[in-house]
Symmetry: C3
Subunit: 319 residues, 3 copies
């Protein structure tokens, strides 16, 4: 079957999902990110790799944090960045998504960073570009519905590789609202591709997808069991809207059962690292003592995230 | 009478309206745009003509699409672009339009791109700059009320010249809501100045201005008659707010009478081109088969639009 | 006591308030601003001092005008500027202020320009940076609650020095809603540090803070008495929300008692200058004849404001 992310030479032309990416492409992105990490530490944090390129942030769903990370990454590559507040623009005036895309392509867009509430929207755009013969325009999925958030998955892999050196033998627990998390899905796929020994999905029955075992994860309904002997604990954000809904009794109750406290973390391996995609709900899914403690690598994830996004953009642009 | 768009040497100092622009100024803009078209095709899509200049997008009326085209044009000229969300700023705090302008001039603004719901607002600003002796600050009208949208008019002329080579002998039909369209007004003026043989205004009686014949256009209430033997068909967007109002029965009804279908288009010359300022309402003013068909040059208009805006900004800045 | 704005070598590391800044630091900022004033007059209005640096505009309270001045200043220093619309971002999702800051620091932010409705928010951030060992990241207070607006205070001092050469012997009247004004507080502190002979606080009893005399200002409830023989008259903006509240009878009534008219201004010294932080309410706190008259230096304040902000950013970045 045709992989819409790769061109005829097997090179990355869009980043839509970690699902289906060959292991060597993943490793190439992580290796490239290493070289960009150094750029952000320089006095002049800029390289001219995307000079004169036009990168469009096409956010159909508002996410200041994610948009900011891509904006910084693109600017450090010297691209021209144009933020489109799509909620207020032509789509609201009845224009179709693909008409909007065609218009921006006609303005000589080089790359679209797309965030959309509907799963598959970035695929639709990539497919349209292929059918209209615009292989020189690239799409990065910055989160589509519950489906995928591949740069978050990649930065998580970068973080794990940085601290654990090797994936083989690793036990990784992903804890929380896996059902609504595009991050969890991207992480499980990447960990599988990179050869982690065991991926655990830990959470209440109401927040675990029914197909989670088919995805290759071992299910735990008990946090202590799920975390025990793990090398990596990835905590997921509990969306505010879940907290008092039908799925969960209350935020307080959730913390009692699934909040990561120092006591629970002590069950993991002594050198286990704690990750979180942010923004954190302190006292809901994670205790402040853990979030600010020596095992947390949450802020390193943010730093690596910029380098990973620079790597993805730079690879797509053909550098 | 003094032409507020030209300086003492007859050079363009503001672009406020196509009305009153000498033919050679129009042609000079189109010729300059030709040279910029090539820049957008380069690998590094940037020229340093406006480096260090400050361009302010002063949008008193929201229009993401138009703002984006000016932002891209200015960035490709290497200007610093500052977007002012004026609806939320000091004018809302009771400051007058001209106090806002004086403030930005004092910050060493070089150019204002102005969009305003009131006809004449860009004239007011240009006049104020002249009276305060700031001939080094330039105004581009990006749409004022129902009055004018000169860069859209210019890109339409560029498109026609590109595909038809010469204006003499051309029959051009402008179809739809001419009453509320600043584009139609700019197009009629430009076509007159550039010597088109015949300009037709086609639409229902309720959407044609009463002075349309004085403007030099021939009136057609019937779409088929209006389109017959034309070289160029310019379809106008039907604003959503008109569709179910007093002026029109319904969108469906409108499409039946004034929507451009392949059957209707067949009445025009076989090599006729179809234009639309966007965003399109597919199935309201235009059939998808026409919009995506071989005679449509709608996306070329978008590409030429960037080049035309680069040309205007560059000429105003004295390059 | 430790001064949070200065580093161990007594150099400016954050600009939080004029309160506590040594006279020589103030003078150094003003002198540096002089050199930047020339940059804004150049054809290419850019210097590479902050090239590759990332400046974040962190506006928890909306202020398009103030944000614009910092954005222009940073861009003329060649910095990458990222505007965060914080009201719509992660803080709204329950993230703490300091978690937001930690995240941006992890993205290698170099400078935060902070506007916040709460007095002390920029101090909280500066203190957090110190405690986490990030002395290389700098904070500029762009207005916190009723507390301080130091760059406005500095540009006011620059303006006075520019027109009056020397502070000694100067009588300065600050007129209007001093109670709610962060500008007034910053001005009084700066005038004290720079050695003005007399600072007068002029306004109705309901709009003067009770501790105003301890701050070193002489109180006048009568405008004519307050303005008499002054060298400088600083008019404050009357916030719309005060006009019909419990504090004031009406805007018209306010103008009758505290509006600066040519007649009142005639009581000041013949060479007195009139200042206003903008945006002005013409006909409320100031008569148009004064605002546009020969003694007004209100637009010079705006010009100097860019130079002062460039100076502050450049000094903080260690240039």
């Amino acid at each position: 079957m045709h992989n819409p992310q790769l061109n005829a030479h097997g090179e990355l032309t869009h980043l839509l999902s970690i699902d289906g990416l060959p292991r060597d492409v993943l490793v190439h992105i992580l290796d490239t990110a290493s070289s960009f990490l150094e750029v952000s530490d320089r006095d002049v944090k800029k390289v001219p790799l995307l000079r004169g390129k036009s990168v469009f942030n096409l956010f159909f769903e508002n996410s200041t944090r994610t948009r900011t990370t891509f904006e910084i990454a693109a600017k450090r590559l010297s691209a021209d960045v144009i933020n489109l507040d799509v909620a207020r623009s032509s789509t609201a005036k009845g224009e179709t998504l693909l008409d909007t895309v065609d218009n921006l392509v006609s303005m000589h867009a080089d790359m679209f960073v797309v965030r959309h509430a509907s799963s598959g929207a970035p695929y639709l755009i990539a497919d349209h570009l292929r059918r209209t013969g615009r292989d020189d325009v690239h799409v990065v999925n910055a989160g589509d519905g519950r489906h995928a958030h591949p740069t978050q998955g990649l930065l998580d892999m970068y973080t794990i590789r940085h601290f654990k050196k090797d994936f083989s033998g690793l036990k990784v627990a992903i804890v929380g609202d896996i059902l609504h998390s595009r991050v969890a899905r991207s992480d499980i796929q990447a960990l599988g591709a990179l050869g982690a020994a065991e991926v655990r999905a830990v959470g209440p029955r109401t927040l675990l997808p029914t197909d989670i075992e088919q995805m290759g994860a071992r299910v735990f309904y008990d946090l202590r069991e799920g975390v025990r002997d793990c090398d990596v604990v990835i905590m997921l954000r509990l969306q505010n809207e879940r907290m008092n809904g039908a799925l969960l009794p209350s935020a307080k109750e959730y913390f009692r059962s699934y909040g990561l406290t120092p006591e629970v973390l002590a069950l993991a391996r002594p050198d286990a690292i704690v990750m979180h995609p942010g923004p954190m709900n302190r006292g809901v899914e994670i205790d402040s003592e853990v979030a600010d403690g020596p095992q947390a690598v949450i802020l390193s994830q943010v730093t690596f995230g910029i380098a990973v996004r620079m790597a993805v953009m730079s690879i797509l642009a053909g550098n």
